[in-house]
Symmetry: C2
Subunit: 174 residues, 2 copies
Protein backbone atom coordinates (compact mmCIF):
# COMPACT_ATOMS: atom_id res chain seq x y z
CA UNK A 1 0.00 0.00 0.00
CA UNK A 2 1.15 3.53 -0.76
CA UNK A 3 0.53 6.13 1.93
CA UNK A 4 0.81 9.91 1.82
CA UNK A 5 1.67 11.31 5.26
CA UNK A 6 0.88 14.97 5.89
CA UNK A 7 2.28 17.05 8.75
CA UNK A 8 -0.06 20.01 8.30
CA UNK A 9 1.05 23.61 8.53
CA UNK A 10 0.36 26.82 6.65
CA UNK A 11 3.95 28.04 6.36
CA UNK A 12 5.50 24.59 5.98
CA UNK A 13 3.37 21.51 5.30
CA UNK A 14 5.44 18.32 5.41
CA UNK A 15 4.53 15.61 2.90
CA UNK A 16 6.01 12.12 2.71
CA UNK A 17 5.00 9.16 0.55
CA UNK A 18 5.94 5.60 1.48
CA UNK A 19 5.27 2.19 -0.07
CA UNK A 20 4.97 -0.76 2.28
CA UNK A 21 2.88 -3.38 3.99
CA UNK A 22 2.85 -4.73 7.56
CA UNK A 23 5.92 -7.01 7.87
CA UNK A 24 7.41 -6.01 4.49
CA UNK A 25 10.26 -3.55 3.76
CA UNK A 26 9.37 0.12 3.40
CA UNK A 27 10.28 2.23 0.39
CA UNK A 28 10.53 6.01 0.12
CA UNK A 29 8.52 7.36 -2.82
CA UNK A 30 8.63 11.09 -2.22
CA UNK A 31 9.36 13.61 0.51
CA UNK A 32 9.03 17.37 0.58
CA UNK A 33 7.47 20.47 2.04
CA UNK A 34 4.70 22.61 0.59
CA UNK A 35 5.25 26.23 1.58
CA UNK A 36 2.91 29.21 1.57
CA UNK A 37 3.90 32.76 2.42
CA UNK A 38 2.90 34.17 5.84
CA UNK A 39 2.51 37.53 4.06
CA UNK A 40 -0.28 36.23 1.85
CA UNK A 41 -3.97 36.38 2.63
CA UNK A 42 -5.34 33.16 4.18
CA UNK A 43 -7.41 32.24 1.10
CA UNK A 44 -4.35 32.47 -1.15
CA UNK A 45 -2.40 30.28 1.29
CA UNK A 46 -5.09 27.60 1.55
CA UNK A 47 -5.56 27.27 -2.22
CA UNK A 48 -1.75 27.32 -2.69
CA UNK A 49 -1.50 24.41 -0.25
CA UNK A 50 -4.41 22.67 -1.97
CA UNK A 51 -2.71 23.04 -5.36
CA UNK A 52 0.54 21.55 -4.01
CA UNK A 53 -1.30 18.60 -2.49
CA UNK A 54 -3.35 17.98 -5.65
CA UNK A 55 -0.18 17.94 -7.76
CA UNK A 56 1.43 15.45 -5.39
CA UNK A 57 -1.70 13.23 -5.35
CA UNK A 58 -1.76 13.30 -9.15
CA UNK A 59 1.92 12.32 -9.25
CA UNK A 60 2.04 9.52 -6.68
CA UNK A 61 -1.53 8.11 -6.52
CA UNK A 62 -1.51 6.95 -2.89
CA UNK A 63 -3.95 4.34 -1.55
CA UNK A 64 -4.46 6.26 1.69
CA UNK A 65 -3.73 9.59 3.34
CA UNK A 66 -2.54 9.91 6.94
CA UNK A 67 -2.82 13.37 8.47
CA UNK A 68 -1.44 14.43 11.84
CA UNK A 69 -4.30 14.86 14.28
CA UNK A 70 -4.38 18.39 15.68
CA UNK A 71 -3.50 18.42 19.32
CA UNK A 72 -5.78 20.41 21.59
CA UNK A 73 -2.90 20.74 24.07
CA UNK A 74 -0.98 22.98 21.67
CA UNK A 75 -0.95 26.75 21.66
CA UNK A 76 -4.40 27.76 20.40
CA UNK A 77 -3.14 30.19 17.73
CA UNK A 78 -0.90 27.47 16.26
CA UNK A 79 -3.84 25.06 16.46
CA UNK A 80 -5.96 27.27 14.18
CA UNK A 81 -3.40 27.30 11.33
CA UNK A 82 -2.69 23.59 11.76
CA UNK A 83 -6.41 22.76 11.76
CA UNK A 84 -6.97 24.89 8.64
CA UNK A 85 -4.09 23.25 6.74
CA UNK A 86 -5.15 19.81 7.98
CA UNK A 87 -8.73 20.38 6.77
CA UNK A 88 -7.42 21.09 3.25
CA UNK A 89 -5.34 17.88 3.29
CA UNK A 90 -8.26 15.80 4.61
CA UNK A 91 -10.63 17.26 1.99
CA UNK A 92 -8.12 16.64 -0.85
CA UNK A 93 -7.91 12.96 0.11
CA UNK A 94 -11.63 12.48 0.78
CA UNK A 95 -12.58 14.21 -2.47
CA UNK A 96 -10.71 11.44 -4.32
CA UNK A 97 -12.46 8.75 -2.29
CA UNK A 98 -9.22 7.87 -0.47
CA UNK A 99 -9.34 6.67 3.13
CA UNK A 100 -8.06 9.47 5.35
CA UNK A 101 -6.72 8.53 8.78
CA UNK A 102 -5.68 10.82 11.60
CA UNK A 103 -2.79 9.82 13.84
CA UNK A 104 -1.43 11.82 16.76
CA UNK A 105 2.24 12.87 16.82
CA UNK A 106 2.72 10.39 19.73
CA UNK A 107 1.31 7.52 17.68
CA UNK A 108 3.65 8.33 14.79
CA UNK A 109 6.68 8.66 17.10
CA UNK A 110 5.81 5.44 18.92
CA UNK A 111 5.39 3.61 15.60
CA UNK A 112 8.89 4.44 14.34
CA UNK A 113 10.91 4.68 17.59
CA UNK A 114 8.88 2.72 20.15
CA UNK A 115 8.65 5.89 22.25
CA UNK A 116 5.70 8.29 21.90
CA UNK A 117 7.83 11.10 23.32
CA UNK A 118 10.89 10.60 21.13
CA UNK A 119 12.65 13.78 20.01
CA UNK A 120 13.01 14.99 16.43
CA UNK A 121 16.56 13.60 16.01
CA UNK A 122 15.46 10.12 17.09
CA UNK A 123 12.43 10.17 14.75
CA UNK A 124 14.64 11.31 11.85
CA UNK A 125 17.26 8.64 12.62
CA UNK A 126 14.66 5.86 12.66
CA UNK A 127 12.87 7.10 9.52
CA UNK A 128 16.28 7.12 7.76
CA UNK A 129 17.00 3.57 8.95
CA UNK A 130 13.53 2.15 8.22
CA UNK A 131 13.52 3.56 4.69
CA UNK A 132 17.18 2.45 4.21
CA UNK A 133 18.24 5.92 3.11
CA UNK A 134 21.91 6.87 2.72
CA UNK A 135 21.29 10.17 4.48
CA UNK A 136 18.49 11.68 6.60
CA UNK A 137 15.51 12.73 4.47
CA UNK A 138 15.59 16.32 3.30
CA UNK A 139 14.06 18.69 4.15
CA UNK A 140 14.58 17.55 7.74
CA UNK A 141 11.17 18.69 8.96
CA UNK A 142 9.40 16.40 6.51
CA UNK A 143 10.60 13.42 8.58
CA UNK A 144 7.43 13.74 10.67
CA UNK A 145 5.31 13.29 7.53
CA UNK A 146 7.26 10.12 6.69
CA UNK A 147 6.82 8.84 10.26
CA UNK A 148 3.07 9.39 9.89
CA UNK A 149 3.01 7.45 6.62
CA UNK A 150 5.03 4.59 8.15
CA UNK A 151 2.75 4.59 11.21
CA UNK A 152 -0.22 4.21 8.90
CA UNK A 153 1.35 1.40 6.84
CA UNK A 154 2.07 -0.56 10.01
CA UNK A 155 -1.38 -0.03 11.44
CA UNK A 156 -2.41 -2.10 8.45
CA UNK A 157 -4.97 -1.96 5.74
CA UNK A 158 -8.01 -3.15 7.74
CA UNK A 159 -8.70 0.24 9.30
CA UNK A 160 -8.14 1.89 5.92
CA UNK A 161 -10.67 -0.39 4.25
CA UNK A 162 -13.30 0.40 6.88
CA UNK A 163 -12.75 4.12 6.36
CA UNK A 164 -12.90 3.81 2.56
CA UNK A 165 -16.24 2.00 2.92
CA UNK A 166 -17.46 4.79 5.19
CA UNK A 167 -16.48 7.45 2.65
CA UNK A 168 -18.22 5.59 -0.17
CA UNK A 169 -21.31 5.16 2.01
CA UNK A 170 -21.24 8.87 2.89
CA UNK A 171 -21.01 9.79 -0.78
CA UNK A 172 -24.00 7.67 -1.74
CA UNK A 173 -26.05 9.05 1.09
CA UNK A 174 -25.48 12.72 0.32
Amino acid sequence: MRVLGVDPGLTRCGVGVVDGAPGAPLKLVSVGVIRTSPGDEIGVRLIGLERGLEELLDAVHPDAVAVERVFSQHNVTTVIGTAQAGAIAIACGARRGLPVALHTPSEAKAAVTGNGRADKAQVTAMVTRLLRLDAPPKPADAADALALAICHVWRGGAQARIEAARIRQGRTRQ
Copy 2:
Protein backbone atom coordinates in the same frame (compact mmCIF):
# COMPACT_ATOMS: atom_id res chain seq x y z
CA MET B 1 -22.53 44.01 -3.84
CA ARG B 2 -23.66 40.52 -2.93
CA VAL B 3 -22.00 38.95 0.12
CA LEU B 4 -22.07 35.37 1.37
CA GLY B 5 -21.62 35.29 5.15
CA VAL B 6 -20.44 32.02 6.67
CA ASP B 7 -20.66 31.12 10.37
CA PRO B 8 -18.41 28.04 10.19
CA GLY B 9 -19.16 24.81 11.98
CA LEU B 10 -18.97 21.11 11.17
CA THR B 11 -22.36 20.10 12.58
CA ARG B 12 -24.15 23.31 11.60
CA CYS B 13 -22.58 25.83 9.24
CA GLY B 14 -24.68 28.98 8.96
CA VAL B 15 -24.84 30.63 5.52
CA GLY B 16 -26.51 33.93 4.67
CA VAL B 17 -26.47 35.92 1.45
CA VAL B 18 -27.26 39.63 1.36
CA ASP B 19 -27.35 42.26 -1.38
CA GLY B 20 -26.44 45.81 -0.42
CA ALA B 21 -24.07 48.72 -0.53
CA PRO B 22 -22.93 51.20 2.12
CA GLY B 23 -25.83 53.61 2.68
CA ALA B 24 -28.33 51.64 0.57
CA PRO B 25 -31.10 49.26 1.73
CA LEU B 26 -30.15 45.62 2.34
CA LYS B 27 -31.90 42.68 0.73
CA LEU B 28 -32.00 39.06 1.86
CA VAL B 29 -31.04 36.67 -0.94
CA SER B 30 -30.70 33.38 0.89
CA VAL B 31 -30.31 31.99 4.38
CA GLY B 32 -29.75 28.47 5.62
CA VAL B 33 -27.60 25.95 7.42
CA ILE B 34 -25.35 23.28 5.92
CA ARG B 35 -25.32 20.25 8.21
CA THR B 36 -22.95 17.30 8.42
CA SER B 37 -23.37 14.32 10.70
CA PRO B 38 -21.17 14.08 13.83
CA GLY B 39 -21.21 10.31 13.28
CA ASP B 40 -19.41 10.60 9.95
CA GLU B 41 -15.67 10.51 9.43
CA ILE B 42 -14.06 13.96 9.23
CA GLY B 43 -13.22 13.65 5.51
CA VAL B 44 -16.85 12.86 4.66
CA ARG B 45 -17.97 15.85 6.72
CA LEU B 46 -15.54 18.30 5.12
CA ILE B 47 -16.40 17.31 1.55
CA GLY B 48 -20.13 17.35 2.47
CA LEU B 49 -19.71 20.91 3.70
CA GLU B 50 -17.69 21.78 0.60
CA ARG B 51 -20.41 20.39 -1.66
CA GLY B 52 -23.08 22.45 0.14
CA LEU B 53 -21.02 25.62 -0.16
CA GLU B 54 -20.22 25.01 -3.84
CA GLU B 55 -23.92 24.53 -4.63
CA LEU B 56 -24.75 27.77 -2.85
CA LEU B 57 -21.96 29.67 -4.63
CA ASP B 58 -23.20 28.32 -7.98
CA ALA B 59 -26.75 29.42 -7.13
CA VAL B 60 -26.15 32.94 -5.78
CA HIS B 61 -22.82 34.08 -7.33
CA PRO B 62 -21.67 36.41 -4.54
CA ASP B 63 -19.10 39.17 -5.09
CA ALA B 64 -17.39 38.44 -1.78
CA VAL B 65 -17.32 35.91 1.04
CA ALA B 66 -17.18 36.91 4.73
CA VAL B 67 -16.19 34.16 7.14
CA GLU B 68 -16.26 34.41 10.92
CA ARG B 69 -12.72 34.66 12.23
CA VAL B 70 -11.95 31.81 14.63
CA PHE B 71 -11.51 33.07 18.14
CA SER B 72 -8.48 31.82 20.01
CA GLN B 73 -10.30 32.55 23.28
CA HIS B 74 -12.79 29.77 22.61
CA ASN B 75 -12.60 26.21 23.87
CA VAL B 76 -9.75 24.60 21.93
CA THR B 77 -11.70 21.49 20.85
CA THR B 78 -14.45 23.69 19.41
CA VAL B 79 -11.79 25.84 17.77
CA ILE B 80 -10.43 22.86 15.80
CA GLY B 81 -13.80 22.01 14.18
CA THR B 82 -14.54 25.68 13.54
CA ALA B 83 -11.11 26.23 11.98
CA GLN B 84 -11.51 23.14 9.78
CA ALA B 85 -14.97 24.21 8.55
CA GLY B 86 -13.76 27.80 8.11
CA ALA B 87 -10.79 26.62 6.01
CA ILE B 88 -13.17 24.85 3.62
CA ALA B 89 -15.30 28.00 3.27
CA ILE B 90 -12.25 30.22 2.73
CA ALA B 91 -10.83 27.82 0.12
CA CYS B 92 -14.19 27.60 -1.73
CA GLY B 93 -14.28 31.39 -2.05
CA ALA B 94 -10.58 31.84 -2.90
CA ARG B 95 -10.70 29.05 -5.51
CA ARG B 96 -13.26 31.15 -7.42
CA GLY B 97 -11.09 34.25 -7.14
CA LEU B 98 -13.57 35.89 -4.75
CA PRO B 99 -12.30 38.22 -2.03
CA VAL B 100 -12.57 36.44 1.31
CA ALA B 101 -12.72 38.57 4.44
CA LEU B 102 -12.60 37.44 8.04
CA HIS B 103 -14.60 39.33 10.66
CA THR B 104 -14.76 38.54 14.36
CA PRO B 105 -18.12 37.79 16.01
CA SER B 106 -17.74 41.13 17.89
CA GLU B 107 -17.28 43.04 14.64
CA ALA B 108 -20.42 41.45 13.18
CA LYS B 109 -22.46 42.10 16.34
CA ALA B 110 -21.21 45.69 16.55
CA ALA B 111 -22.06 46.25 12.88
CA VAL B 112 -25.73 45.28 13.24
CA THR B 113 -26.50 46.28 16.86
CA GLY B 114 -23.85 48.88 17.76
CA ASN B 115 -22.71 46.58 20.59
CA GLY B 116 -19.93 44.02 20.09
CA ARG B 117 -21.25 42.02 23.02
CA ALA B 118 -24.91 41.93 21.97
CA ASP B 119 -26.75 38.66 22.67
CA LYS B 120 -28.24 36.34 20.06
CA ALA B 121 -31.80 37.73 20.44
CA GLN B 122 -30.59 41.28 19.83
CA VAL B 123 -28.56 40.25 16.76
CA THR B 124 -31.55 38.32 15.35
CA ALA B 125 -33.90 41.26 16.00
CA MET B 126 -31.60 43.70 14.21
CA VAL B 127 -30.93 41.37 11.28
CA THR B 128 -34.73 40.97 10.91
CA ARG B 129 -35.20 44.75 10.98
CA LEU B 130 -32.28 45.61 8.69
CA LEU B 131 -33.40 43.10 6.06
CA ARG B 132 -37.05 44.21 6.51
CA LEU B 133 -38.24 40.64 7.07
CA ASP B 134 -41.76 39.85 8.30
CA ALA B 135 -40.36 37.30 10.76
CA PRO B 136 -36.93 36.44 12.17
CA PRO B 137 -34.77 34.54 9.66
CA LYS B 138 -35.04 30.77 9.87
CA PRO B 139 -33.17 28.75 10.92
CA ALA B 140 -32.49 31.09 13.84
CA ASP B 141 -28.81 30.22 14.14
CA ALA B 142 -28.14 31.41 10.61
CA ALA B 143 -28.74 34.99 11.83
CA ASP B 144 -25.01 35.19 12.68
CA ALA B 145 -24.13 34.41 9.07
CA LEU B 146 -26.44 37.23 7.91
CA ALA B 147 -24.89 39.60 10.47
CA LEU B 148 -21.46 38.75 9.04
CA ALA B 149 -22.65 39.44 5.50
CA ILE B 150 -24.19 42.78 6.56
CA CYS B 151 -21.01 43.68 8.46
CA HIS B 152 -19.04 43.06 5.28
CA VAL B 153 -21.39 45.12 3.08
CA TRP B 154 -21.09 48.06 5.45
CA ARG B 155 -17.31 47.84 5.72
CA GLY B 156 -17.50 48.73 2.05
CA GLY B 157 -16.01 47.49 -1.15
CA ALA B 158 -12.55 49.08 -0.82
CA GLN B 159 -11.17 46.37 1.45
CA ALA B 160 -12.74 43.71 -0.77
CA ARG B 161 -11.07 45.14 -3.87
CA ILE B 162 -7.65 45.10 -2.18
CA GLU B 163 -8.12 41.45 -1.20
CA ALA B 164 -9.29 40.47 -4.70
CA ALA B 165 -6.15 42.08 -6.12
CA ARG B 166 -4.04 40.13 -3.61
CA ILE B 167 -5.70 36.86 -4.61
CA ARG B 168 -5.12 37.56 -8.31
CA GLN B 169 -1.50 38.48 -7.58
CA GLY B 170 -1.03 35.28 -5.56
CA ARG B 171 -2.43 33.20 -8.40
CA THR B 172 -0.12 34.72 -10.98
CA ARG B 173 2.88 34.25 -8.75
CA GLN B 174 2.35 30.56 -8.05
